[in-house]
Every structure is written in structure tokens, then in C-alpha cells.
Subunit: 346 residues, 4 copies
Amino acid sequence: MIIVLKAGTKADKIKNLMKSLESQGVDVSHFSDVKRDFLGLIGDTSVINTDQIRAHHEVEQIIRVEEPFKRANRKFHPENSIITIGDETIGGERLGIIAGPCSVESEEQIIGIAKRVKKAGANFLRGGAFKPRTSPYSFQGLELEGLRMLQAAKKETGLPIVTELMSVKWIDEFEESVDVIQIGARNMQNFDLLKEVGKTKTPVLLKRGLSATYKEWLMSAEYIMSEGNENVILCERGIRTFEPETRNTLDIQAVPVIKKLSHLPIIIDPSHAGGESYLVEAGAKSGIVAGADGLMIEVHNDPENAWSDGEQCLTPDEFAGLMEKAHKLASFEGRSIQKAAESLTR
Amino acid sequence: MIIVLKAGTKADKIKNLMKSLESQGVDVSHFSDVKRDFLGLIGDTSVINTDQIRAHHEVEQIIRVEEPFKRANRKFHPENSIITIGDETIGGERLGIIAGPCSVESEEQIIGIAKRVKKAGANFLRGGAFKPRTSPYSFQGLELEGLRMLQAAKKETGLPIVTELMSVKWIDEFEESVDVIQIGARNMQNFDLLKEVGKTKTPVLLKRGLSATYKEWLMSAEYIMSEGNENVILCERGIRTFEPETRNTLDIQAVPVIKKLSHLPIIIDPSHAGGESYLVEAGAKSGIVAGADGLMIEVHNDPENAWSDGEQCLTPDEFAGLMEKAHKLASFEGRSIQKAAESLTR
Amino acid sequence: MIIVLKAGTKADKIKNLMKSLESQGVDVSHFSDVKRDFLGLIGDTSVINTDQIRAHHEVEQIIRVEEPFKRANRKFHPENSIITIGDETIGGERLGIIAGPCSVESEEQIIGIAKRVKKAGANFLRGGAFKPRTSPYSFQGLELEGLRMLQAAKKETGLPIVTELMSVKWIDEFEESVDVIQIGARNMQNFDLLKEVGKTKTPVLLKRGLSATYKEWLMSAEYIMSEGNENVILCERGIRTFEPETRNTLDIQAVPVIKKLSHLPIIIDPSHAGGESYLVEAGAKSGIVAGADGLMIEVHNDPENAWSDGEQCLTPDEFAGLMEKAHKLASFEGRSIQKAAESLTR
Amino acid sequence: MIIVLKAGTKADKIKNLMKSLESQGVDVSHFSDVKRDFLGLIGDTSVINTDQIRAHHEVEQIIRVEEPFKRANRKFHPENSIITIGDETIGGERLGIIAGPCSVESEEQIIGIAKRVKKAGANFLRGGAFKPRTSPYSFQGLELEGLRMLQAAKKETGLPIVTELMSVKWIDEFEESVDVIQIGARNMQNFDLLKEVGKTKTPVLLKRGLSATYKEWLMSAEYIMSEGNENVILCERGIRTFEPETRNTLDIQAVPVIKKLSHLPIIIDPSHAGGESYLVEAGAKSGIVAGADGLMIEVHNDPENAWSDGEQCLTPDEFAGLMEKAHKLASFEGRSIQKAAESLTR
């Protein structure tokens, strides 16, 4: 961290500031050129209170040379993290393919879709039991009953379950019955929820906030990791932009940038990004060639009657068609996707 | 709500769709021009699942003519809502002036500032006990100890307390000891938290999300109100834009637009909007002339040593100077601010 | 300018980089702390090619401590610039009130409106002769015929003319017959046009681009000034944000920030910002209390039949009502607006 | 187009509005449900002045069911447009690969790079002779001398030239010596320039504006096409978002959306999108799998000493490596890229 002081700052003011910084546990060195003085901070600057420094009248600018995250930082963990979920992993050579409906609607529905997506090559089942909805008058999910149905589908197919947690109230139920806890985009900075899932051992799928920067996203991962749970999977699901034709704008560059900054796996959700089924294929394929560790795709047996987000769902047949292409593309990139045949015989 | 159907939609498809809509409790009428068919929905369309409609292949576009919020809507509640908090109100002729430090740091500090801001004309005390911070390594607030100190300051000055709630875990403590529960920008769509504060009777100050639209913000107010708590005060605190010179961009037009759409009071937080103390005056004065019902301003006795956000704090003297101008401006607008003298003799 | 080098950069690489920088005419000093080396550049760094520096593999980060603009910079021109336009000025104690229709529609229309706005206190007449329209099929303005009508209105009322130039093709006609050349938001970075108006002596009203930062805007002013024309007036007209209820978001903080960074006058256009007539008053009043040097307001005798932007126009009576309030508010701020009576007797 | 009228609009007002609309050359039909009246407009609504309609007090909302662009619209031109440029095409089965330096720096440089990129599979040469720079003090390009050098490189290699036009002043020189005229992002709504290139027959590469929507971009294409030049190639080069780690955010969904709305070819510029060379590969590959018709990539023999944008340039060797992968990926997608071998023997 470098602190640029205002031109003409007096020597005693500089000394005071240095002392105050050193008392926070870092080493401070002092340079100057003809016009200005600078302070260079060395040590663990992640604990430095930059708000407090910035409020000093003599401070012109603070420059963070180091990233503010530690556990999520690739510098201190050069190899990729591979997250283990039951018999599956995310972050290794094989892509994680998470598929299923937006909302769990009935036991029959979720089991039916689970079988179809597994057959096509998915190795995880998604389905919302608790739904974050802009309107209090919209369907809010089947809640605990939905969790139970997801478990029934897991029992039937063996697919591990990925589903969203919206309240610390249900954390025990999720720990017990969910394989990957999803934190939604709107809760990316619900720090209380992040800390609580950080105290569990269950892998967490952390969606990027609607207008969050990469660093804010990684700082939210850091919240979870700093409580002891290092099993974090990042999920790019599109960001809000001025474009009204698409629900969100898929930021494909997130993949190489996150890979550079962090060792955590990152997957792509092309369904929420585009918000329309015809956009899923381009997003999914882009994700694979950009180096993503997996895909999260909404599949519904009857999109026209889906209780939520039907517009962006693929039918099971469309999903199977996409998986065929994805399979080849993954090979092209030196990665793999579970084969349809393979999944059937397991 | 108007549903535009794709050109060439068959009559039986239209009939099916109409039936499905009517089963959701609304009346549906069918028009057509030479090229296209339309369906007009009448009744309580706020319960209609637009996701499900949009997923029908024959639907080209859905147009909401009605706003999706009801309890927050001025159409059904033409007069302004006035929220009562102890002996004070927000939403009436007198402006609510909420002032205090970003974080509670000690009992001495919070009592000292409370006395100074009261003397200058504030009628509410703010101070963070639980702090939402981007980094898990930043100071997270004095928590329950901070709440206790706020109460001590209230005892000393009589000023009602406004402070942020980040977790449903502490809701009982807040109900007991806080006069206005603040929901921060990052939690504007933490629907679980909104529902829980909606079950209390304590007035809620709902900050606008970092990149939330007015309607999303009002829908979040609707979440609180739909649980029975109609005491919602909206707070514009700046939105995220491309401008790096300011922390956020104060959206002053929020005041007349919200006043048109809703009966709820709206106040302005110029401290968080600009993020620098020299911007507070312009923001505060703009808020008053635009018709806001109050101001929320950060004041610290020693900004250079504030534990958070010192850069945007006013000193008590600067605050007193601003209040003098605000007082005159409020009169000019036919509103009032408690006089310094008056507050001293209470 | 400070250049942060990557950890472990070799001494000879540093020497080479220093030589290359010195050859660009600046002094370079070299610091280092335990981990890293830094180069501090002193002198006129506005000519330094930062692209070229950034491309060196050993460069980690470049920090501009100085602003990249010179002529527009308040540091080198501490007092406010006052732009003289005929008998009027913008930037001094008296506010510049520019009013008139979006488009010039006929001689009768423009003369009629000019008389009404002058009577109400405007000291400049606006009216579009060349119109930037998103669609090639929309009305593009009366062009040279429109300029002629504006001159007729000036002859009748004495009001100096402000109108938009979209093409270098018409620059001679504008120099001859226009008092203030307006550069529209969409042309803020049409560098060719900026250079050409920079070669004239006519005052230029430079609108902020739809998603431009303050520094980009000031760099565009710098383009004009670097060609010799220092008569630049900045105009904040709202920026693009995610909010669909308003045409643009008025950024009121632009006024104090621009005043801090630059000596150039800045005015507010509340008509384009909000895009609806009911929002004009809040925007105009906010502009005055935030310290703006003037207002630009659309006025039309028959908004329902205006050829463009009728929704945001005030009627002459509404404008006169607003001016009455503006007059008092300006006095409150120690500024003035020409009185209605005064303008009539001139 | 559907016009929603306010509840309670009187019959005579409706009649007047219908007459006024019919006088603009469209058919108008009138519907109503219990609460409201609607007008449906049929015919060429692209000429309707929506500003004027919106200004009528009785109008609540205007809904455009039709797109406002005609010539660029896929509805009226279902097959893909293939643009012919000398012996090459863009929009057909073979991808257009445009490569070269950001700026032309010398004849030797541009010829050297042209040979290298041709050998690697590029079929077009890019290079800036006129450079749009934020600062007037930055290098502005070699101008006409740069054009001459590009022609020398074309003579040597046969590669058609793509270069940016910033001023109508040079349009004759560009028509004579340039194969594809590029319109930069900052000039996307420089309507004067669009009209002028629309009067030529030279193919135009139209970059998307920094925060432009797809429809605004297509309306700018429509400006060019409405003047007679239908040879428009669209180029996605990233949009401005809140993310500071990347220069812009590459919007890969632009490809399928533009393909749906329009018949015009679209290419991807991953160099400007990411702004750093390590991001080019992910962007380029995503473009190919999303269905883009080509790529525009910056290549420089000595990025560290490039006069502009060196940070985002590939070296010729890196470019050759990327082309090898791109070649295979194009085959995978049923498209092709000129083979290195093939280009050498031409």
C-alpha cells in the first residue's frame, strides 16, 4: 500500500501518521521526490483501516498494490482448488454440469427432470426450494417441502443437490440435506449469511452480485473462507447493464480474470445471464472455451408452465442436444464432461 | 396488464391462455387489430405470475400498465404517510434530521456527538453498532455493546436512535432498544430480513440498493408492509455509476419520482452519496429544495480518527453551520427544522 | 505520476525505463521499499504516453497523481472563469438562464417563445436547428432555415442564441450567426468537432456525454481550449443509469466536483435530465443551491404539439412560475437572476 | 405500436388523437377494456414522432411492438448479409480475421506486421492512421501519411485495409484508399459522419458505442443504410461497466441477439474489450463459438514500445498460436479460417 501525501505536508504530521500506521502492525517507509512525500506500507495491509487513513487531511490518495483478499488469492495458493462434493468434484479436469428447474414444483417433476438431465450428462441437480422474488406476491418456493423433494430426487438418481439458502434460519436443514449451498446474487453482500455458511463444511456456490466487481465478489468469498469453509465455487450469472434485450449481460471475461486472481473454481450460468432459452447455447459454449469449471443450466420438462423463469429454461431434449456439443468442446479444450452413456450405467 | 401475442397465433391457443389467466383470478378481454391479438387483464394483476406467461411461445410481450406494488402505492393512499417515532415524526411539515457518527466507538464519543448534533438541530441520533464491511478483516462494529451505548446517549439527550440491523438474529434486541431499524443498501433485497422487520412494529429506514431501480426499491418496501409494518421511510443514499471521483451518485430526482409513485416519506443521505465531506452541503440543500422529508448526515467529533468513513464526516461545527442554512432553506420551501435554541430548552 | 514496478524487477530494466521516460521530457526519481521499486515522475506528465509505459512487462501499476488536463484545471487558474457573450456573462454572480423550445419549428413560434421567456427572466434563447436523433426517420431539424429563424428572434428580443452544431460543415454559418455553440452529449468525444470549434472564438456549451466521467468531460473541454478557445461552459444534462422511470439521472454532485477541479462555469439542464416536465422544478432548484452558474430549460408554447421532446417542456406560464422561485433561491445563495420587470424595460 | 391512454380520457380527445395519428400515414384502431382505452397503430410506424405523441396529456404509455429499424431488420431480409470486400467477404462461411497494430507507426512496421499476420491466417489488415484519444496531448496518429503506409502494406501483401475515419473532412481520401471504413465507438452516434459514409459505397465497420444498447447500435447502422450504403459490419468491442479490472466488458450475447434482430454480419474485437493481452484468447474463442462472423485483433511486433494500447497487443507469435486454435474451433462450428499455408501461396 502506498500513501501519497499532499504537497507541503509538514514533517511532524508525517511522523504522527507513520506512528499511527506502525501501531496497526505494518512497517512504514518514507520516500519523497521534489514535490511530494510518500509512505510505503509493508506487511499484512489487509487489516489496515483505509477509511481512517483517508480521513487525514494530509492524505491525497491511497494506492492498494496488494489485493485485499488473502485466502481466495492465487498468490498464496498457486494451484487450482478442487472442491469435492460426494463422488464428484468441481475445479478439476471434469466440468461440473448442474442442471434442473428454476423451482421445485412437485416430487414427480423434480425426479422426472433429474433423470433426464442425468441421462444427458449432468452430474449435479439444481432446483429452488426457497426463491428470492422481487415481489412479495410472487411464488416464494415450496420451502422445506421442496428440500424434501430434492432429496427424493437425489435418492432416485444419485445426483448431489445444489439449492439456494436465503435465511440463516434454515442453515441446519441445509447442512443436513443439501450438497452445495447456493448464495444468490442479491445476497452476495449479506455478510451475516456469508459468515454463517462459512461456519459449515458444506461447499458454497457464490453467485456474483448484480453489479458487483470481481474484487467485491472475491471479498465475499473471503468472508466465507475466513470462517473456515474454503469450499467456495464462484458462479458468473450475468451483470446488470443498460441493455434491455437481455436479462443480464454475461461477462465471459470473468473466467480468465478470476482464474488469474484466485485459485477458486468458477462456473457459468448462461440461463440467468441471458434470460431467454435461445441465448443459453452461446453462453454455455463461451464458458467452456473461456476455461470455466462448469455450467449451471435451467431445464424444465414443460417450460410454458414453469412456475418461474420458464422463458429461460431448456427442455430436456434441448439440454441433451447442448450437452452433445459441450462434450466435444470440452475435449477440444482438454477437459471432459461425463458421457450420457456413462451416467446411465452408474 | 396487456399481453401482446405473436402474429398468427391460433384461436385455440388464445382461448387456452385466456382460461389459464382467468384461473388466476383476473378478468381477461381479447382485442385484435389487423396484425395481432392482445389480451387485457383487469383486476389484481399483482398476483399474476408473469414469468409463467412469458414462457408461452405465443406471447410476444407483456406490458404492465399498473405498478406491481399496492400498499406503497400513492394511488390507493393519496395523502402522505407520516411516520411517528416517539415524539417525533418523519413525513410531515418538519424535516427529520438524523445525525451522528458512522460507527459507535465509545460511550463518551456517542454521548458527546449526540449532545452536539441535538444542539445544532438534529432530532434523531444515528450510529452504527453492526457494520456491513466489504472486507471480513475490517472493523465490524461494537455490536450489542454499541447498542447499549446508543441507549445511554438516548437517555442523556432524548434523541431517538436510528441504527442498522444486519441479521435476523438480533431482531429482538433491536425491537427493544432501537427507535428506527435501518436496512442497509446491501440488504435491500435480503427478503428474509425484510419479512422479519415487517413482523415488528418498529419504523424501518430502507436504504436504496447500490444499483436498484425505484420500483425494485418500492417492492422491497412492499415486502415489509405486506407483513403488517407500514412504517417505512425510504432513504436515497446515492447509486453506483461510472464516476470514480465520488463514492456514489446522488440521485436527486428520486425525491419527486418517489413522491409521485408512493405515499411513503423519503429522506436523503448526502454523506454516503458523495463520500467526501465537501460534497455534503450541496447534497443536503438539494434534498431540501427537491422536497425530501429529512436528511441523514454523518457527524464525528474527530473525523481524522473515525473508525470508519471519516472522509465523509462533518465536524459538529460544520454540521451546525449547515443546519443554519438548512433551517432557512426549509422555511423557504414551507417546511421547518427544529431550531437550535428550541432543542436546547427541551 | 508514480510508476509501481513488479517485485523483482532487475536494475538494468529499471535504468532503461528511466532513460526512456526522461527522453520524454520529465524528471524521474527512483525509490524502493523492501518489496518493490517505484519511479516518481516530475514535470509536465500530461504529455507522457501512459499506454506505452503500461505495456512494459515490468510495470505493475501507474498512478496519476496530477490531473491530465491543464488549461481547464483550477490549480493553474484559481479564480472562476467568466465567459462573456455579448452583454451577458456566464460564470459570474448573475445566473445564465437559457430557455426555449427543443426544436425551432417556425419563425412565429420561436419569436413568440423568445418574448415569453425573456419576460420571465431568461437571458439566452435556445432552440435546435440541427437535431441529433436516434432514428434517421425522425425530424432532423430545419437546419439553416432554423438558424435564420433564431436570428430573427434575436433581432426581436436581443437574446443571444444557443444552438447545437453537429457537423464541421456548418462551422462558418455558426460562427457568423450563433452566440454560443452547443456540443451535444453524443458528440462529447467527437474530437474532430471539438478541435474545429476550438479554432473559433465563439463560446462553446459542452454537454456531458451519456456515460462520461468528469475527467473525460474535462479532457473534452481541454481539446477545445488547447486549440485556443478558452470560452467553454460545461452543462450537466443527466447520465445514463439503470433507472427506467427517468430519461437520465441528474448528477447534482457534478457541480461541486467540477468547481473543485476546474475554473470553468457549469450549468444544469433539468429538462433533458428528467425527461418529464414535472421533474424540472426539483432539478432546477437543486442546481441553484448546489452552486451552478445557470440553467438550460426547455419551454414550448404548445408542448402537446412540439415536434420533439414535448414531454419535458414547460409552458411559458410554468416557466414564469419557476423563475419566480428561482429568483428568490438565487438571492438566498448570494447570486441573482435577471428580474422579469428588468428584462421588459431593456 | 400501441398507445395506452390514461383512465378516463374523454371520447373527443381520443378522436382528435386518432385523427392526428392518421394524418401521419398509419391506420389506427381503437380498443378498450373496462378501465382504459388503447390505440393500435398499423403501417410504417418508424416515421411516427413518438415524442409528439408522448407529450399529449392523455397518453399514459407508448409500446413499440415493431423494431424502429427497417433496412437492418432481419424480418425484411431473412438471409444473412454477406459483405464483399475485394476478393474477401465477411458474413459468409469463412470468418473475417482483421489483424494489425493499434496505430500505424512507420512503413517498415506496418509492412512487417502485415506479412506476419497474413502468414498466420489474417485476411484483413488493421492499423490506425487517425486516432481518437481522450487527451489532446496524446499521439493523434500519422494521419494521411499513415494511410499511405497502409496502402504500401496492402501493395506488399494484398490484404485489404480497415482503418478508422474520424472526420468527414477526409472522406474522399478514405473512399480512394481504404477497403473498410471503421467508425469508432465514440462516434457511433456522430450522425453527421454516419450519413456521410452512408453516401459512399465503401463497406463500413461500425463499432458499438461505450454504453449503447443493441437497438441504438442498429439505428446507427440504419443511418448509414438509409443513405444507400448497405455494406455495414457490426463490431462488438466491449461495453463500459463498473468493473475496473478490465478495460471494457465483452458482451458475448451481442452475437446471438444481433443475429436474431438483424441480417448484418457481426464481429468481435477481444483486444479492446479486455484491454490486456492475456484476455484476448478467451474473448476470441468465445466469439467463434457464439457465432460471430469474424475477429479484430491487435498485433504488434514490439508491444512494449507500441505508441498506443501496447498492453492489449499480441505479438505475431502469440497471434499465430491463437489462429491455430481458432482454425480448429471454426471447423468445429462449421465455419472456416484461411489457413496459414493457403495464405502464403496466394
